[in-house]
Amino acid sequence: MRWSWARDLTAPAGQALAEALCLDAYVLVLTPPDAQAPGLRALLLLFVLGAWTGRAGSRLVPHALGRGAMLAVSAMALPLWWAGQGVSLEDALSAAAHDPAAMLAPLLLGLAVWCRGVWLGAVPATTEMLTRRFLVGSLALISLAILLALAKGTGVERYTHTLQLLVLGYFIVGPAVLALVHLQALHDRAATPQPASLRWVPALIVPMALVAGIGLWLTHDFAPMLALAMHGAVRGAALLAQLLWWLLRPVLDLLEALLALLQPGHHKLPEAIRPHAHIPPPRPLVSTVDDSAGLSPLLLLVPAALLVLVFARLLLRRIRRRGVAPAVEERTSLWSWGLFQDQLRAAWLARLAALRGAADSANASAQESAGADGRPVTMRAVYRALLRWAAAQGHRRGPAATPQELRQELAVSLPQAADAVALITSAYEAERYGGVVLPATALAAARAAADSLVATQDDEPGRQSGGMVRHATPR
């Protein structure tokens, strides 16, 4: 298998980064107040270096003995990481002599992180495995957030801002790594000679930006209002319940009295003991965790240089293949407001029809544009169908283009449809601009021409008459 920048560098680093973010959140919260927690950068560096080492060992070193030697040599990163914490050896030794457990914990954490990073890099993960990891990480963050919410008032509020950033980073890095690994797997499976299209990047950024933006908006703007509404609703419900209780109280008293009459040996139940909640004293605030634990600039330069090399190699490969690959790819935008509005209208009508449970009602609500069979019944509707069809063929009608200009454009590029387009255009112009009331036969001919245009797209899935889009049948 050939070397891949996505599979061998970016994906292990991304996985390590996502896990480092998740782990750092826990380390941040669980570090004792009087101890110094390793910073995110230190954790991240150890994780990523471990992942790259593991990947390099599994890909470049064929023998198990060589891999072991490579891991042993690469474990020198651990002392380096230790040195990066900003603790001198003398201090460390004296601290270890004073409190061995306090010094042992960071070392063990570093060792665990390093081993996890090596394992992440050495063992290739499928998309499903990565998804599970991502979801487990999400659950871990949710659990941590629940714990912090339960521990409110004990001084944990100081972590909120840092943790919000970590969570946001996790939900950006994790999906990006998932998408990258999946794309690489698809590309390997297809074994196409062309490199993956860079359109993948905006196609991924759009949904992720939407998710992040909507999530932030919901959290900071919508959730407080919703909380107010929920509190108001619950208060209202409580008042209503109280009112009901007040109304039903005499009846219940009467029932209780009757019940007492029927049971001669009844006795008073002892009063329920009301538990008194134990409120722990507030935990004293400790100093903010130092997140800027020492990080050598040299160590930061190494991954940066690697990334630069990777992208340079990627660009070189693309340039080389551009001259060799005979396949030519063209991209055309088919965007038009008219098409978008038509799709929205169609989706709305379909939703209405689904709600009403009958397609006839949806057709009736489509005003005069469509008949009972879903076909356009007015000349304007027929022409709109033509415009949709033309837009689907890549010929949008410009804002200043006349119907005749569109007809000429279509006649040049789609000569097989020229007759039908000319028929519809002439009939439309006669009615729209000439004030002519079209006879039923002319309208029927225009409808038939529009149907013939749509019928030329029979080999395309997901279409129906009038250029509407229908859902493809799931397997």
């Binding site: 998309t127 998804t131 979801l135 949710i142 957030a145 629940i146 912090l148 919410a149 909120t160 969570v167 946001l168 939900f171 998932l178 998408a179 999946h182 794309l183 698809l186 499976r189 297809a190 074994a191 000679p193 299209s197 359109r199 196609a203 991924l204 759009v206 949904p207 992720m208 939407l210 998710v211 999530g215 932030l216 959290t219 959730a223 407080p224 909380a227 929920m230 690959a325 005979p326 396949a327 030519v328 790819e329 063209e330 991209r331 935008s333 088919l334 098409l339 978008f340 799709q343 689907a392 029979d458 080999d459 395309e460 899935p461 997901g462 889009v469 859902h471 493809a472 049948t473 397997r475």
Partner: protein
């Protein structure tokens, strides 16, 4: 994995988070829920508005020609697709320049894999080229469209049943006739007498003789020469060539199927040569072409070569009946005077007997035997032309019939 229980749990925790007013918990739950919901939305609508169209540059191609193949992908919806995979069924052994054809798996044909990322309302057009390295009626499609959410967690498939057909003609060689064992292949080159002279081909005039039809009198010549003259027309005839192709193979050697392909190419080349010489040519064989038996009566019509080439292109490389029986039946219905040209890769006793009988009845006959090795046995009583089979026959420049 992202089922209803997962979403219900997130909803409950989300309600609790909003109720508590905790920002961190709300953000975490919201992001988890939004990503989960967006994956479901993408899975639901990823293939809506997605169209796939395959366009061939031509429907008929010559052997060795390169045909343009245009693949169009359209995404007519507001959702971008980080990945859209198309697996288009292709005939085995077809090579596509600019694309990768996956080898066939058990139960699955070869398929062309296309992977694309698409923005909203975008059309992607890819231009590939098919190298027509084998004859036949090649079917492209059906295709399978697969896409899913932007992370590749949930996927969805849809079938695209549309197919396209490309007819690749057999390889055509320039034919050179050497010294033939029989001159019957060409029929009688020049007809010295004809029952029906061609009135269009006038070659002169002669004096009127008693018995000449009045309508042959040339009045202008008669006026000039002051005696009755009649038009003399050129006697015409058209050589008839009836090609019989044998699909019989022993089935023991892998080379035999290739030799049969060579035989098909020889038949096509001879047919083209005959049409170029303005002969009437026909074709029959003990095989099927497009599900129907091969049988084209000799004709000099302009579309005759195309009919023959299409029949040979679509021919299945397996026999559907005995060659001896076909020869016997064919000579009963064939036009008198036509030359029978049998192209075969094997000659067994039954076929020899039938051919001997045809030859004994005076039928013009020539047998082209395509064989890997020569087995010199008892000479056949009918003319046999041996054509050596070579594995690199597709690289031949010409076909020489006869020494």
């Amino acid at each position: 994995m992202l089922g209803e229980l997962w979403l219900l749990t997130l909803f409950v925790v989300g309600v609790a988070a909003v109720w508590s007013g905790d920002m961190l918990l709300t953000l975490t739950v919201m992001l988890t829920a939004l990503i989960s919901a967006s994956l479901l939305v993408w899975r639901r609508y990823c293939l809506s508005g997605v169209a796939y169209r395959r366009r061939l540059g031509t429907t008929h191609a010559a052997f060795g020609e390169t045909v343009a193949l245009r693949l169009e992908l359209t995404n007519l919806k507001p959702l971008p697709l980080t990945w859209l995979r198309i697996e288009d069924a292709m005939p085995n052994g077809l090579s596509v320049e600019g694309g990768t054809v996956q080898p066939p798996n058990p139960g699955r044909p070869s398929r062309l894999s296309v992977l694309a990322a698409m923005l909203p309302y975008e059309r992607v057009t890819r231009r590939l080229h098919i190298r027509c390295d084998r004859r036949g009626e090649l079917q492209l499609g059906p295709a399978t469209l697969e896409s899913g959410d932007y992370l590749g967690v949930l996927t969805r498939r849809a079938a695209h049943p549309g197919t396209d057909r490309l007819i690749v003609y057999p390889k055509l060689f320039p034919v050179h006739f050497g010294k033939l064992p029989s001159n019957r292949l060409l029929g009688r080159d020049k007809a010295h007498r004809g029952f029906l002279p061609d009135p269009v081909r006038g070659i002169g005039a002669r004096e009127y003789r008693a018995g000449d039809p009045y309508r042959s009198i040339d009045w202008r010549s008669s006026a000039r020469s002051d005696m009755l003259m009649v038009r003399v027309a050129e006697p015409s005839t058209t050589p008839l060539l009836d090609i019989v192709l044998s699909f019989d193979t022993t089935g023991f050697g892998a080379w035999e199927q290739d030799a049969l392909e060579f035989a098909i190419s020889v038949a096509a080349s001879v047919a083209r040569h005959a049409v170029e010489q303005r002969w009437a040519v026909g074709l029959c064989g003990n095989g099927d072409s497009g599900g129907r038996p091969i049988g084209i009566r000799p004709s000099g019509a302009p579309q005759q070569l195309r009919l023959i080439l299409e029949a040979l292109a679509r021919a299945d490389a397996s026999p559907t009946g005995s060659l001896a029986g076909l020869l016997v039946r064919h000579t009963r219905t064939a036009q008198a005077g036509s030359t029978l040209l049998l192209i075969t890769t094997r000659l067994e006793s039954a076929e020899r007997g039938a051919l001997h009988e045809i030859h004994r009845r005076g039928w013009p006959l020539l047998v082209v035997l395509i064989a890997r090795t020569y087995k010199v046995a008892v000479p056949d009583p009918f003319p046999v032309l041996r054509l050596p089979y070579d594995e690199a026959w597709t690289k031949r420049d010409a076909l020489v019939l006869g020494a």
